[in-house]
Each structure stands twice: as C-alpha cells, then as structure tokens.
C-alpha cells in the first residue's frame, strides 16, 4: 500500500468514527467493559496463582511427635514418615532446637529466654511434593504411630481456597470473555454498518469506477481498528486505576493485608499487550463482518 493511500484510509476511517459519535461511544464503551471484565478476572487468577506458588515454595507441614517418646525413638520415626505418599523429605527438629528457634524469633522477650526445653515437643518439618494433596497427606501422616491425630499442622484450607479461586476465576474468565467478545464484535459491526449505509452511494461509485474490494474495505477496517485501539487505551488506564485502588484497600485492611498482591508494575506490559491485541481483534473483526455483505456483487 502506498503512503498516500495509507493516509487517505486513515483519515477516512477517523472521519467515519467521529461522524458517528454516539455509536462509536457505545462501541468503545462495550469494548472497554469487555476488556475490564476480562482483565479483572485474569488479574485475580494471576494473584491466586502467585499466592499458590508462594505456598508451594514453603510447601511444608509440621508433624509433632508424641511427648512420651525419647529423642532416640522420635528420630527413628523418620523412615516411616518418609515412606508416606507425596512426601519429598523430612527434617527432624529436636525440642532444644525448637526452643532456640522460638527464642531467636523473640530475642527481646525476656520472659521467653529461660524456658525449659521440656515444654516443646520434638517435631518433623515435612516437605510435600504436591500442595493439592495436602489434606490426604496430612491424614496419612497422622496415622504414623508416634504422631497421632491432630498433631500435623497444615494450611490445607488456605491452599484449597486459592486453588478454588484460581479455577473459578479461570472458568468465569473464559465464559465471560467469549460472551463479551461476541457482544463487542456485534456492536462494532453495527457501528460500522452505519458508516457503510451512509456511504453506500460512494461505495457504489467506487465499484463503478473499478475500485477493488480491498480498497473499499480499508477505511472501514481502519475505523474498526481505531475503535479497538481507543478501547484498549482507555481500558488499560481504567484497569490500572482499579487495580491500584484494590491494592490500596487490601493494604489498609488489617485482616487481609497478609495477602501478597502482585504489583501492577510487574504485569503492565502483558496487560497492555493483551488489551491492544484483543481490542484490535474486536475492532477489525467487527468491521470485516460489517462489510462482508456489502462487497458482494
């Protein structure tokens, strides 16, 4: 395509877009909504996933040994524990070590500095392979003689919660995205149909003098492209603002501030890329479907 044609198409496309202010506004609005919903669910999924990864990294449970066993007997449990499914490895922590760990965590609390090791129990730090099987593994560990019911500490509820969030966000995301994509394409197609209707005489003249379908199509493709581009840019900044707002209110809330939120700065390139890609796909898809019929004959 030559340079003067490029500018001609771009100008025509922009002119058409502004000429149908209200429809263009509606088309951009719906597309932005589509992008925002899609973006929000994706970001929730990304965060749930990040938290799961955090937990998987300290993918560890603590198993407390029966107080009546001697240190020797307690150390002898290592083989039994390692034999349990889904266990990657076990580390023995004696009650003395446990006390030292505890004391080193609170060096300023004088009260804690003369504790007797007897009030601590021998324990195992147990690394797991798959965090998803945490509760089954926990049950099996509790069956090992010398451990017993209720003596394994696990974060199974949290893990299950994040897995659910991630899965639900994933499914909702895909369902909503497909519906919204269709709606957006439909609205953009109708916006551009208005233009083709306004310009039917000009299109007829172009065909009469021998313009190719490709040439006739370009201004409309640009119009769709511009609609998609505007939507992507507006959507991106709204998404950013929304995310910052949520981040700030999570930080301000004592009970949930422990949740680590992935900073927007780590993701903005992907968000921008996806928004631009999807926005243009919707825009160009809509315009092509709007003029397909028009170009027959």
């Amino acid at each position: 395509m030559s340079r003067h044609n490029f500018f001609y198409f771009a100008r025509e496309g922009a002119y058409n877009m502004f000429n149908h202010g209200f429809m263009s506004f509606a088309a951009i609005g719906v597309t932005v909504a589509c992008l925002l919903i899609m973006g929000t669910f994706t970001l929730v999924a990304v965060n749930a996933n990040a938290m799961l990864e955090d937990m998987e990294q300290k993918n560890q449970v603590l198993a407390f040994v029966d107080e009546n066993l001697t240190e020797e007997e307690a150390r002898a449990l290592a083989d039994d524990l390692e034999a349990v499914d889904n266990v990657r490895g076990v580390t023995f922590i004696s009650r003395e070590e446990a006390m030292e760990n505890f004391q080193s965590k609170y060096p300023d609390e004088e009260l804690y500095q003369d504790l007797e090791p007897e009030i601590f129990r021998h324990r195992y730090a147990i690394d797991l392979v798959d965090i998803g099987k945490m509760s089954e593994t926990k049950a099996k560990l509790e069956q090992v003689p010398g451990i017993g019911e209720g003596n394994v500490n696990a974060y199974e509820d949290e893990a299950a919660g994040f897995i659910t969030i991630r899965n639900v966000a994933g499914v909702v995301c895909i369902a909503l995205i497909s519906i919204l994509l269709l709606v957006s394409v439909f609205i953009i197609a109708n916006t551009i149909k208005l233009t083709t209707f306004d310009r039917r005489d000009e299109i007829a003249i172009m065909k009469m003098v021998g313009a190719t379908n490709g040439f006739i199509r370009w201004p409309f493709v640009y119009e769709g492209f511009l609609l998609g581009l505007f939507s992507a840019v507006i959507g991106f900044f709204l998404q950013w603002g929304l995310y910052e707002m949520v981040t700030r209110s999570v930080d301000a809330n004592d009970t949930i501030r422990l949740i680590r939120i992935v900073p927007f700065g780590d993701m903005w390139v992907y968000v921008a890329g996806i928004f631009l890609g999807v926005g243009m796909l919707i825009g160009v898809g809509g315009s092509l479907s709007a003029i397909r019929k028009f170009l027959q004959v």
Binding site: S2, I205, V209, A211
Partner: protein
C-alpha cells in the same frame, strides 16, 4: 471490443430479459442502442460491466470473458469501461474537483497523476472553470458533463451511457451527444442507450434496436428500420 453471443439472461424472479441476443461492437465505433421500455437495454449494460451474469451465451468485453469471470477480476474490467447514468451519480457534498479526486483515488492513482489528469478531462468537457462548485450549483447538463469527465478519468477504452440525456432538455441533450461524439473521435468506443428518436436521427451512426430481449434491427443512420 464488445461481443455478445446468443446471450440469455433470466433474472432470479423468472423474467427473461434477454433471449438469445447477439451483438458485436468494434473498437472505436459509436453505437446507439434503442428499443421499447423493458426490451433489455439496461440488462445489456449490466452484463457488460459485470453487475449481472449471463444465464447462457458468451459475453466478452475488452478481453474479459464475463461468463465465468473471477470476482476479483471485475474491478479491472470496470477500469476499461467508463459508465454514465441518467441520474449522474455524483457525490453531493464534494466539489466537482473532489469528485474527480475520489474516483481516481479509488483506483489507486497517485497525487501527480491526479493533478495532471483532472484539468485535462475537465477541459475536455468544458468545465475547467467550475471545478470548485458543488454538483447542486450546476445545471443538469453540467452535472452530466461532470459524470462524463469522471468516466474518462481512468482513460477507458470504452464509454457506456444508459439514457444519459433522460433528465435533460433537447438543447442540453444535443450538447451531451456532441460531447460523446467528440470523445469517440479521440479514439474511445461509445455505446449510448437512449429513447430519443429525434436525437438519434440527427446523427449518422449505427443504431441497434432491441425488442423483447433480441436485436431486431441493426443499421446505419436511422431509428426504426426492421431487421430483415
């Protein structure tokens, strides 16, 4: 060259517009096509510019065979044929000059070509000093001359006109025909569909007469002679 051989055109609703029409027009000819309303004149023109497909028979225009032409070839056929209609078909919100620019852009002409060609064709139709006017600021005859100028822009080898003087008074009509005659003298093949018997009889040209989708007479200089 235009050649139609045993052409049948049946519209989807069952109307037989053409019933075995055969016609040949050589390069550089000037031909009037006449005939009663509904005899198939406009259908012939639609066939020649690829707007409808023949049901049977062969249609060849400037080397393009229209029988099974590929859709993407049609624009290139149309660049060899300038078309003029009774209703001018100008863009009302563009000036004469911008109407010309629009038509040249549509076939991918560059700014240099555009600057050179437009003054030439406007001069040819005698409208060089009205290029800044809107179509609504011109008389019917002038508007039709704009349409003729536009048809000439891409230097077609053939001009086809469907009732070009249908909306004009006799004096304007004669002017338009004289202009088409002059364009023909410059080497362009011209086919004019018209109802106006008096007008046709003022020229000594080939006249093809259609009736019920067939050629019923074809001869020089007069309107109404029956084919033998």
């Amino acid at each position: 060259m235009i050649r139609l051989t045993d052409v049948v055109k049946e519209y989807p609703n069952g109307t037989h517009a053409l019933n075995g029409l055969t016609l040949e027009i050589q390069d550089g000819e000037f031909v009037f096509m006449v005939g009663p309303s509904g005899s198939g004149k406009s259908t012939v023109i639609k066939l020649l510019i690829g707007e409808v497909e023949p049901t049977e028979g062969k249609v060849v225009v400037n080397g393009f065979s229209l029988r099974n032409i590929r859709e993407r070839q049609i624009p290139y056929l149309r660049r060899t044929v300038g078309v003029i209609f009774q209703d001018f078909r100008l863009i009302e919100h563009k000036t004469v000059y911008d109407n010309m620019v629009f038509a040249m852009r549509a076939v991918g002409a560059g700014p240099k070509e555009i600057k050179k060609r437009i003054p030439y064709v406007l001069d040819l139709v005698g409208l060089e000093n009205k290029s800044r006017r809107l179509p609504s600021e011109l008389s019917g005859g002038e508007q039709q001359r704009v349409a003729i100028a536009r048809a000439l822009l891409n230097n077609p080898s053939t001009i086809i006109a469907d009732e070009p003087t249908g909306n004009l008074d006799p004096a304007r009509s004669l002017e338009i025909m004289r202009l088409l005659e002059r364009i023909n003298a410059l080497g362009t093949t011209v086919l004019v569909v018209t109802h106006e018997k008096d007008l046709v009889n003022r020229f000594d040209k080939r006249v093809v007469m259609l009736e019920r989708g067939r050629v019923v007479s074809d001869g020089k200089g007069y309107y109404g002679r029956r084919a033998q």
